[in-house]
């Protein structure tokens, strides 16, 4: 109980924490929503692998002295193009290739990333966010949530039955591509918060928790958004309170929410 006024004081006294909270919550919201469909598409591990693919992109951006977000996004875009192509051309599970791709890029990233920035790239550091990050995050999360809402029905139909969707003339490959594109965006954004090692979990855990307690799609989307935002907020506040790194505390908060939802599992 006594902690509550402490938190308020903490935010009030620290403009940077407020900025972090806004950015973190925005990313949490969109990560939860995108994650909800990644979980349904059985892409949980792909999400994880994707975040590792970003590492060499970040490294190259750092070496070229540009914003790491753009490096990460470029690398991710390349990765999703490959995944999309494979999904379209084969019925094979893309697991093997994703597995290979992710370890290779991790190896490459570890070699390329300058030593001082390596830990930050791996576990994220939202404490260094700027106002530019705020505008970027605000714009991108709005685009992500709006776009995903528009394709959600068709995406879901494709998940239930590809044939059923195709018989309705739904451009399923296009829809899948747009979705993977959104996934690349959110992972690139999430790396700022949780780093390349943990972003996959930021996308997946809130959605997995939401799935535990939802009977229908609208509940599911709503809870995924809420749990994403809640994980980010709780993680950032506790990290600031205990003066530790926020990436891991965000993921641990998400994990605690997941455990909580198991009790109410439908």
């Amino acid at each position: 109980m006594a902690a509550k006024p402490d938190f308020i004081n903490m935010i009030a006294m620290d403009n940077s924490l407020l900025l972090q909270l806004i950015i973190g919550i925005l990313i949490g919201l969109s990560a939860g929503y995108v994650g909800s469909f990644m979980v349904l598409r059985k892409m949980s591990l792909v999400g994880d692998a994707l975040s590792h693919v970003a590492l060499p992109g970040i490294a190259i951006a750092l070496l070229m002295n540009i914003n790491p977000f753009f490096g990460a996004f470029t690398a991710l875009l390349l990765a999703i193009l490959i995944i999309w192509f494979l999904e379209k051309k084969t019925e094979l599970p893309s697991e093997t290739l994703v597995g290979i791709m992710f370890t290779l890029s991790l190896a490459l990233g570890l070699l390329l990333t300058p030593e001082p920035e390596l830990l930050e790239a791996l576990s994220g550091d939202i404490t260094k966010v700027t106002f530019f990050d705020l505008w970027l995050t605000l714009a991108l999360s709005m685009v992500i949530i709006w776009t995903l809402k528009r394709i959600a029905d068709n995406l879901m139909l494709g998940i239930i039955s590809k044939e059923l969707a195709m018989s309705l003339k739904i451009p399923i490959h296009k829809i899948n591509f747009i979705f993977l594109f959104l996934a690349a965006f959110i992972v690139a954004l999430g790396i700022k918060v949780a780093g390349t090692m943990l972003t996959g979990s930021l996308v997946i855990i809130p959605a997995a928790a939401a799935k535990n307690i939802s009977v229908n799609l609208s509940q599911y989307s709503k809870w995924a958004l809420i749990f994403g935002a809640l994980s980010a907020a709780a993680g950032l506040l506790s990290a600031s309170y205990f003066d530790i790194s926020p990436g891991p505390t965000i993921i641990l908060s998400a994990g605690m929410i997941f455990l909580g939802t198991l009790v109410f599992k439908k």
Binding site: L40, D153, M156, L157, I159, I160, S161, E163, L164, M166, S167, A210, K211, S214, V215, N216, L217, S218, Q219, Y220, K266
Partner: protein, 243 residues
Amino acid sequence: MSEVILKVKDLSVGFERDKVITGLDFSVNKGDVVAIVGPNGAGKSVLFRALLGLIPHFGQIEWARDLKISYVPQKFSIDKELPLSVEEFLKFKKKKTADIVDTLESLGIMTAKHAHHSEFHLQEHILKQRLGWLSGGQLQRVLIAWALLDNPDVLLFDEPTAGIDLGGEETIYNLLKKLHQERNMTILLISHDLNIVYKYATNVLCLNKEMICYGTPSTVLDPSSLAKLYGGEAGFYKHDRHG
């Protein structure tokens, strides 16, 4: 004669050396009920997919212009954990709840016998359920409702009553018959049950990688073509024309 709405010419599906279907020729008139029969692996579902343009094929498939075609795939499993309600699923077809309720009722999912209050309760109940929680028969009926929701001109049913009990099967075939009679709907269905074929089909297409026969059930379903179709193992019709 009534108008031709589907013309299939020299249709083949598969790879050069491994054909699933070869050299199919047939046409369907408006208002026909065509039953496609054949053993497992004969290419019946593949034929449907080709007709819908879902898979590549050789030869010609010509549908009449501006047809609304609905398709019910062979019974598929839905993840029990999938967070999607029956109502949300049916609303993917962008229809009003009233239409959904009407269609479900015509399929015998909700009976109108109940008093007003409990009837409402029942409707609420099934619509709010998770799709993955339905029994096999319920799911199949919901899929059929899905297909009927936008008043199609042509229905393609892949084993419409798989997993449905005997009484339910009657209901569904009687509904198909009604749709056929009232709306002159054209129906193509895959069935294992030759009784059903005799009772409801106007035409039958016997398929076993190639076309074995095509015509009215009583003219084409003779012992020799059945033997050819099922490899002489069809015990349904015994023929005693020895000597």
